[in-house]
């Protein structure tokens, strides 16, 4: 039963701390997406990768956020330093084609105090 996994599921941290979220896409999927979801803004695309190369990260605040794919089985999203306004649920998704459905992970619920 192939699925996208994300760790941690929940993270509570203090303002100024570094946060790292990890995602394992479905094996064989070559496109990986990072989203952020809040009540106010809804679902926002932060960045996405194709074949491990970043295609678009224009949705991401560059001064504090960074996204990488060290290898085909791991995508990371880092926030440094974190701020209370970063509190949200962060989702990773993957798919295998340009117009195909996306498969979402369970999300990381981040709370920055």
């Amino acid at each position: 039963d192939a699925r996208v996994t994300q760790t941690p599921r929940h993270k509570v941290t203090e303002m100024g701390q570094e946060v790292t979220m990890r995602c394992q896409p479905i094996l064989g999927h070559n496109t990986v997406f990072w989203y952020r979801q809040t009540m106010m803004q809804g679902l926002e695309l932060l960045a996405y990768f194709r074949n491990r190369a970043p295609l678009d990260d224009s949705g991401m605040p560059k001064d504090r956020f960074s996204a990488e794919m060290p290898d085909a089985t791991l995508a990371t999203l880092k926030i440094q330093p974190s701020e209370p306004r970063d509190s949200a649920v962060y989702f990773c998704a993957s798919n295998a084609g340009q117009y195909n459905e996306q498969f979402f992970g369970p999300g990381t619920r981040l709370t920055v105090l």
Partner: protein, 109 residues
């Protein structure tokens, strides 16, 4: 960015009734997809309709697409309590999906 607008924002109906949600978008598309999100969970793909299709069915789901009006509708027939969730439409662009704000559906027992 959000291209789609869903209507209504919230919908509350009795179990057994049909639920209809609408989605409008702005640019030309390759396909349009509907997703469901249960509270606290990730989004789950429901159905994909291509730009050259007008109607598609999957179980109790029926999706229509009118490219001339740039709109789509999702009909859930014979609703159940388990259908309580948020429903999102998304249009497929260049590798990414452009998302609507979602319709929150509540099924009352």
């Amino acid at each position: 960015s959000q291209q789609g607008e869903e209507d209504p924002q919230a919908l509350s109906i009795q179990e057994g009734e049909n639920a209809t949600m609408n989605c409008s978008y702005k640019t030309s598309i390759n396909n349009l997809q509907w997703y469901r999100q249960n509270s606290g969970r990730g989004l789950v793909h429901l159905i994909l309709i291509r730009s050259n299709e007008r109607e598609k069915h999957s179980g109790r789901l029926r999706v229509t697409l009118d490219t001339s009006k740039k709109s789509s509708s999702l009909l859930i027939t014979a609703s159940r309590a388990a259908d309580t969730a948020s429903y999102f439409c998304a249009t497929a662009g260049n590798y990414q999906l452009i998302w609507g704000a979602g319709t929150k559906l509540i099924i009352k027992p």
